[in-house]
Amino acid sequence: MRIFIYFFLIIIYACDENNSVRTYSIPKQHNAFKNIEDKSEKNNLFFSWTSPSHWKEGNVSPMRLASYTIPFSQGKADLSITNFSGDGGGLLANVNRWRGQLKLSSQTLEQVSKNMYTGESGLGQFKLFKIYNNEDHSTAFLCGVFEIEGSTVFVKLSAPLLGVNEIEEEFKKFCSSFKYNDK
């Protein structure tokens, strides 16, 4: 009887296989993960975009899928593309955070919606926000928000208001160029 009980306890203990560390090595070509240092990052995404030839590709960072430096008459603007799962924190929260960065007060969803433009792209409709402070033209933002299946893509241009005005049309075209990758 005692042997039977011991045997049973050993079986129960041995059965708990979900308590371990496993190691394995696989060839690189099977690695589906996106490494931020990998310059071919964009190829791993299920969407892509087309940038004007004079936009200079900048460094990626832990948060950015891509960056561009865009020249305008009095300097250079910075553009970033980020992608977050879900709603990325929410449209209202993000717009108010951008407004906060320009020392503007928060708005309600209704007010935000009034100042919003929409455009069409291969990813579907995107929302466009031009945010600037009338009392300080040193920094202004143009932000495109794409709500796609399960995640949100943010495209943000940061420049003095003059630069934002100059690049605005190009930015809209750039946002319209977003599309799903072919199979």
């Binding site: 009887m1 039977f4 560390v21 394995y24 696989i26 832990p62 977050f84 799962s85």
Partner: protein, 372 residues
Amino acid sequence: MINKNIIKKIGSPKIFVFTVIWLMVLVFVGTIVQKNIGLYAAQQQYFSSWFKFLGPVPLPSGKLTMLIMFLNLSCYFFRPHIFSINKVGITITHTGVLMMILGGGLTAWFSTEGNLIIDEGKKSNFFESFYLKELVVVNTSDKDNDMFTVFDNSLIHKDNVLGHETFPFEIEIIDFYDNCKPARRIYAGEETFQGMAKNFFLQEIDAEKEFEKNISGIIFRVNGVGDNDGVYINYLGQPITQSLEYDNQSYLLILRRERTYLPFSIELLDFKKVLHPGTNIAKSYSSEVNLIENNISRKVLIQMNEPLRHRGYAFYQASFVEDGTKETSVLATVKNHGRLFPYISTIIMCIGLLFHMLHMLSKRIKKGENVK
């Protein structure tokens, strides 16, 4: 002598009756609460755990009840004369019931299930668990191979410290959330934050009833990599992988659904969806796949109610995703080592009961003849 008494007590039919009644209670309560807490949570709390705490009182849960029932029925085999003609039918029936419980145990401990998700034209050789997660450290320094160190779900909990000889640092888990969402920091994070944690934090939210929809997240501190020491965050579906470098070695840190690798690959050739006429509601969908094993491939059609069974794995057409022009097939995948036990044990039980019934019948008939 003592052993006989113990066997008599543990093998008491009263215990069996109580365990059966208790199982009925568990099934009833588990079914009712499932509506509010979801299927997975109900399964975990009422059937897959050892105890269910009612306030501070621990009550036996499904696992413990089944263990007691198994021990109770096992004691029958320590009784004398169990292979006599009078008892052999009951012995066979007991064997059948024990096999059924054993099969249940095998299924509970060893079966794996999840989703195999393949884009049209692509192939895959793993499926991902519906519920379990794993933390992975990938050493990407080698030009040909990536070295994976995988920590199972049970090791991912608050205050646990993870380490392995394959990497030179320690991972101290600060917190783990079943469901969370990344939120941007209003103010820049402390200097100790690294990677995405510099600008984001994880906000714990209530778990979804459908557990597989939860976005699990982990906050952990990495120690032992010099300037890269600090707090990192990982969550399911994180768009950009967190990485660190130390001593000319590059590492990726990933939280993902637990993966089970298959000894073969499946390539999705074509996904077809048939709609009900005049609607957008799917009537049926099917996946034409290539089953590739040892560089030899064969075409198989997986349809609703017509799964592919291969090497103990079953692939069911479960769902699909249409994203723009891209079609993706979702195959629910199950490997169940105890799959045949219910069939075999039911047959054994039937044989046992039939044998016992026929024996009793013949005894009655003989008794009746003697009375005449």
